[in-house]
Symmetry: D2
Subunit: 344 residues, 4 copies
């Protein structure tokens, strides 16, 4: 079986394993207070051109989302997100478990628009019984989104503008950031991201690390006591250096961006095959996720050969699926899939 169901089927880039082995018997302080976390943080601050950003390393995405959001909000405040946002659908209510409502906005392509935030904020502010409704305070977006689409610089800046205007925080979930930054048509880079949002993270788990998300906080209000929150939410790794070491390897010389580009290129080949064959896409994007609408007869043939994610029934004979490439997807696996698409 060849796995195209997600981007975390394998371990880590070999350089990461090597680095872990090399440093294995060194003694360091625990809980992220070691020299490697320090160094990784410095690399990130430099890449982001934000010398005063706070950088924290967490093991996974749900943890990062939960910790950032719970740290940012007071009890009566809620998170604005796309209805398809990861926190709204795939985290078993982790945000609600910290006490906060997700104010879900409709979205066809996984993105939240500045106008939607403006409208939602204004509706709350003007409501006669505003104190009876949750106060919007933080806007959560992912880049790329759950549907693989990416925000343009203009879109990010528009979101930033509406957030600043209404004193909302803007938080970018970058679990697949590497695939976004390397994508065709992307005009966002780390400095743009850093200066347009209050907090974001650089996802490692899906882009070459064993695990790990680097949370970058640029808004001073959100920096205070952040390590307490990490500990309280169960996210403070005893051997924290494992996180620092991985991000050093990923980011010291551009490996992270190469890995992202690899995944995007191979997804592009699959996408092109689908288009050539005439299989429509549920949503178009240029990152590592492809969402073709497939005849059920073809999917039947793929059983046991390829794994993919079920995205939804479209009609009697068709199903939308997700095919995911990754930093380590093999060219020959894509060759095989492309062949099978074209010959189907």
């Amino acid at each position: 079986m060849i796995r195209f169901n997600c981007d975390y089927s394998e371990g880590a880039h070999e350089r990461i394993l090597r680095k872990l082995a090399e440093t294995n018997l060194e003694q360091t302080p625990g809980y992220g207070e070691d020299i490697y976390c320090q160094e990784a943080g410095d690399i990130i601050r430099k890449l982001c051109k934000k010398e005063d950003a706070a950088v924290h390393f967490l093991v996974g995405g749900t943890q990062a989302n939960q910790t950032v959001i719970a740290a940012a909000l007071r009890p009566h405040q809620g998170v604005v997100a796309a209805v398809s946002g990861h926190i709204n659908v795939h985290e078993t209510g982790a945000i609600e478990a910290t006490g906060h409502k997700i104010l879900a906005l409709p979205s066809e392509d996984g993105k939240v628009r500045a106008e939607q935030v403006e409208e939602l904020y204004t509706a709350h502010a003007k409501d006669e019984s505003f104190e009876h409704t949750v106060q919007p305070k933080l806007v959560y977006i992912s880049n790329p989104t759950e549907l693989g689409t990416i925000y343009t610089r203009g879109e990010l800046e528009a979101l930033q503008a509406v957030c600043r205007k209404h004193k909302l925080y803007l938080f970018v979930d970058g679990a697949r950031l590497g695939y976004g930054l390397a994508a065709e048509g992307n005009d966002v880079d780390l400095p743009v991201l850093s200066s347009s949002c209050d907090v974001f993270y650089i996802g490692g788990t899906k882009v070459g690390a064993l695990f790990g998300e680097a949370v970058v906080i640029t808004n001073k209000e959100l920096m205070t006591d952040f390590r307490y929150h990490i500990k309280q939410r169960g996210g403070m790794l005893a051997k924290g250096r494992l996180l620092g070491l991985q991000f050093i390897e990923l980011l010291r010389d551009g490996l992270y961006f190469e890995l992202g580009a690899h995944g995007d290129r191979l997804a592009g080949r699959i996408r092109a095959a689908c288009e050539k064959k005439g299989y429509p896409l549920l949503v178009y994007n240029t990152t590592n996720q492809v969402f073709p609408i497939m005849p059920d007869s073809v999917l039947k043939q793929w059983k046991g050969k390829y794994s993919y994610t079920h995205q939804g029934r479209v009609d009697e004979g068709h199903t939308a699926i997700r095919l995911c490439t990754s930093w380590i997807t093999r060219e020959e696996h894509v060759d095989a899939l492309v062949r099978d698409i074209l010959n189907s």
Copy 2:
């Protein structure tokens, strides 16, 4: 600087790193549904002689404690623990963050006694205004405790008896279990542990793994939907096999117990040196933590040479400290420390 401040200063046992490298490019399902987690679970069930136990792998101890406790309790129920229990003092209120009160019991040696539980339960049950107080429902103990002491089989069985009598759950935090099971004077093994409590975990982080705690649930009531809870609390590792692989290596041929014995033996050498020199122990135990009461003058000399944990001021000139050995502590480091103790 030689670190004796904790048992997680280094990476992992070399066999673990090797195993991770060997399997690195295999594709497996995520979130702990891979063959390695399955295999590790089977090994654990066999070692515990509990074929129907549920085994789940979590990254760290706070996460494990939080997830087990929140999954077990209804909102008005609380956790009984020693006042020195890890959940009561070193987890930044992680349990309270899930909504539950910790009902703390006094303890000199870190242990909870069956009689204390009986008394607390009865006081609640007899209270005229019992509905105005938190209902005790789960007893949390660690073995070894925060003070390195271990429970005897008799003590565990007495706790089990009182818990069964009053329908309380018994939960054993085994973050340092390897050091407990290998300790001089210990009469508990995995089958005893499995049959005397409702849920416990085998700690990997402090006994040779990069990270990881294997939660073993023996009470069917606690098994239902447990994976939802793991996900909600941010503890479901995407590349879950990393946990399975580590526990396979630690447990397939007794490595875990050897590593525990190594730490205990070296701690024993330090303890003996303290006793020989006449430095009293805050609490006596036979595991990998030593708690001598040291003259401040000696500690001053150690500055920059050895790291340790501050345990508390005892009097004007003396301080109780904690010296920790581990699965990888080097004999020559202990030689040096013993020499410095004896010559101090």
Copy 3:
């Protein structure tokens, strides 16, 4: 100004005030353990024909919703509700504050349909990554709904059937129950309600009491330790008898149903006037809330004369509003309003 903006603008029915005065200096046990709460509970059990129902009295609706839901669910479970449900829009995230997600279903008329519940449940159960999503466990409906519509006996029984089939709880918020039971076209009564849901409440605040909601639990699973939950959520009134006394007066001889009928009849007059005048209704119902779509020019004239609730802009020149009658609305106030509608 004549208030039609809500159904809690006045105090209580005079019989209630008289009863409070008569019993004022009696000494009774606190926290709802007095003879009046006992008597009120007995009356309710009899009216519901459920001898083994548990009855508890809470001060208000948000409290009742929060307490029932938090008591019923485990952490990973969520509440199914109409998107317009009171808990989803008008309680400042009170449910999320107890840790639970609201799984909102689209609804034109404020009702949840059995088929929607079936579909939602099945989608969750069939989801490949079901453990990553919130588990539906309780269905929350209001009768009458937020839009004043009422459930038929058939609809309730269909909801009950799907809930039983999937082991979901059915919870009916009856904040305006009096207006529902007295409504034209209603075929539900207390025994029907009691036997078709697991828990519901009889709202006093909006139907003649100073305050108070009588929670009736018919499912034994939900009865356990319920008083602990009331206390924990801040809902245990010290002088609990105030609640018992009010429900005795409302329910001992049918006053509650008369008060409901009064409100419904007067709302009917307003509704008829709107229809006669040609003002369309946002949603049609037969209870005490009327939702006409009004010309802004008319609303301008009403300023300072009548208060109402803003329901939403419909187009450039029209606004949907809510006009509420109540148990104590004066005939002459309705006369005036009807006149102004017809002459507008």
Copy 4:
């Protein structure tokens, strides 16, 4: 049976009932936005000599404690309180249910001392692993305490000083404030209280109201969005004017203080009888609670005649109990009790 078990066995002062009746059919806005709440707030601001204080009315004490504390703290922060504090023992974990740990301090007489706060704060600040422990942020005291003792002005000011020094909030639970302010030896008044703490409440439930606590916030940081918190915690009474009306009656001409003095004077008679008879007091105070240590033989005789609260077994033949007087305790009931004490 004559009830001395608590101070909320009866209804309300007759003036309150009269006021409710007089205003019963007036129409007012709901949720505390009526003229009576406004007027009551003005009276309180004047009595406190704090023109810019925010005043909110809540139904009960647990609700008030929970709402204030949850509104004031971020997730990793905890409440400092006496181990005997109401929030620590008699609210079914209501504070923990909002996610916060109570940092309990030992106390013989129910009071928290400034030195204890200083010590606790410093211990946290100096702890090597401070981020692994809950951050103290709010000091909760009651005046009178659970044991009926009262704070002197000096004690309050010392607490204020340590709180200001370390940026902690000082919160005074005044559920029995009326009995404290009227007590012999008391040197605190509303202006002193207002200027020495950040938030406190004037308890109505136990001092002549049907129910109600007036929360007075003097620190601007705590004022923001407070009404959202009230709503979220289920504490926003629909007919909020019921609260305003009661506090107007209690406070417009000193009735509240007279009622407190009445309770204190009668408790004094009981206390004197105990002392005369030689029954020792568990703790001495001058407010409305008396804590004699009684021979079990006497308590046996009282069965069915007097109700009291069990406070704890003292030795084989003696039990500490609590006898409570109130704003409405009858002289002849105290006559009887005093007689029975002296003749026992």
